[in-house]
Amino acid sequence: MNKALVFLDHENGTIKKSSLEIFSSLKGCEIAALACGPSAAKAAQSLEGLNIKTLYVYEGSTAPSSELALQSLFEASKAFEANLILASNSVMARESFPSLAVKIGGALATDVTEVSVQTGEVTARRPFFSGKCSAQVNFKKPVKLFLLRPNQLPQPTPSGSETPPVQPLSLTPNERVKVKEVVSGSGKQADLTEASKIISGGRGLKAPENFKKLEELAEILGATVGASRAVVDEGWVPHSIQVGQTGKTVAPNLYIACGISGQIQHLAGMSSSKVIVAINSNPEAPIFKKATYGVVADFFQLFDPLKEELKKVL
């Protein structure tokens, strides 16, 4: 039987949606989970009814480094004898999982968008070129490691009310990497890669200060603001919000592109969004070919009525 270990992304014991959805892909296998960092044991409460055998934890007193995540993963995977190890595509997992794979003789597939574990059988696919094509993943090593892209699976349905027993891990943290400080962002918006709604701006916004208008709409929508490469290169907005092949690949439920013409590298990064709205004054803009709904309009003329209409319903 497959034995799956899920590495949880959490903040003070509150598990992120992107981690919880992983459990929806696991059928007919034995499951354990692992959480590192302060208050990790509290994560057990969010795992109610998910039929998890053990929650391994390493708490420590400070923010964990990916080296510590690696040590914990190694101990937990050994203790549970896991042959499947999964996490969402977080920075910590991106750093710790490759070393874990080398250490235990496994192989890792990152940015997996489709995974299904049925009794004895594991299948997975991942995109290439930010979604210009995709391929099936075939493992050549006995232990299979996956990093899943957020927003691809539904949240799991709990059955029953049992929480998993907590098993603390004992280890001596290695000191090669130390987390000196964690500087929290504004916290107002979800990360682009996890956001369920995104509103992005491009050159059609004409000036950096006009991104404030996007912020206004984003606040009403509960969306995260993104941008095209052109305006990032201009220095209007930071690279961290760039959507596209050379920025972030996103797949929200709703993607609204304002004043973005739709270069192939931008389209690659957002075309797997479920609903795409394109707002552009040029009816020939390539973005309309990928859009669900197209609005040929000047963003500045559309802005006020759109804001009013959104306010009415949200």
Binding site: T110, P127, V182
Partner: protein, 260 residues
């Protein structure tokens, strides 16, 4: 003091991807233009800025791939100011990330132990973000991916990087280490044609994956059943003046698409 930069040649981002008929991969012969992965240019720049402050540093650019294709990347790196180029020819062998990392680690052990390795945080062809981390595991040194700021001392480096949602981490890593560079770290220098012509004359250090001991049994992943995404349904255009368009858009998003 050996400083290394890992480079990758990738299809230009404007490339329209064509698949092989049997779905076993992309048709590389249909790729018109190969370029250095953009994040790797920031890695080269960071290595050169490090060298400017540490004159004993020698910067090696390293690239794995088909001999002819990767020449251009190494020449560009030398033209920017790297001291040497190490060309690891795959001789027709197709490598996955594990095999690529194994050959890089073996090449470094052969050429001289690293002080710092700079790489791009991710390559925008496969978007794996694996080779640098795998290489750090093979070399048993720590790594930090996605750095946008770095300050170096003799035995440690302090880096800043974004971990999502605008949150930043400040980390201290012991040296030797691997640093995966992000766009905000620096501004890569521009090299003109005369610089490139001169760099072309520089003799590269030649190696092959075979002599570095990379075998088929090292493979971790294989990919099959490549597919292009399905064509999207035709777009629904919303007509009228801005007030009508706004009203209709919000109605459709609520009632038809059900995303509001």
């Amino acid at each position: 003091m050996n400083i290394y930069v890992f480079l990758k040649q990738v299809p230009d981002t404007e490339t329209k991807i064509k698949l092989l008929n049997d779905g076993s991969g992309i048709d590389e012969s249909a790729v018109a233009k190969w370029i250095i992965n953009r994040y790797d240019e920031h890695a080269i720049e960071e290595a050169l800025q490090f060298k400017a402050k540490n004159p004993s540093a020698k910067v090696f650019a390293v690239c794995v791939g088909p001999k002819a294709r990767i020449q251009e990347a190494l020449v560009a790196a030398i033209a920017m100011g790297c001291d040497e180029g190490i060309r690891i020819d795959t001789e027709g062998q197709k490598l996955d990330s594990l095999m690529t990392a194994k050959s890089l680690a073996a090449a470094l052990k052969k050429n001289g132990d690293p002080h710092i390795i700079f790489s791009g945080k991710v390559a925008f062809d496969g978007n794996f973000s694996l080779v640098s981390q795998y290489a750090s595991a093979f070399l048993d040194i720590p790594c930090a991916i996605g750095i946008s700021k770095a300050e170096y001392s003799d035995s440690t480096v302090e880096v800043e990087r974004e971990v999502g949602g605008g949150t930043k981490e400040i980390l201290t890593l012991s040296i030797p280490c691997v640093l995966g560079c992000d766009k905000g770290l620096n501004k890569p220098r521009y090299v003109g044609l005369p610089g490139l012509m001169k760099a072309k004359k520089k003799q590269l250090i030649e190696m092959t994956t075979k002599e570095l001991g990379v075998e088929e049994s090292d493979r971790g992943l294989e990919f099959s059943h490549f597919q292009l995404p399905p064509d999207p349904a035709p777009v629904k255009m919303i007509e009228g003046d801005p007030a009508t368009q706004a009203k209709e858009l919000v109605r459709l998003l609520r009632e038809e698409a059900k995303v509001l």
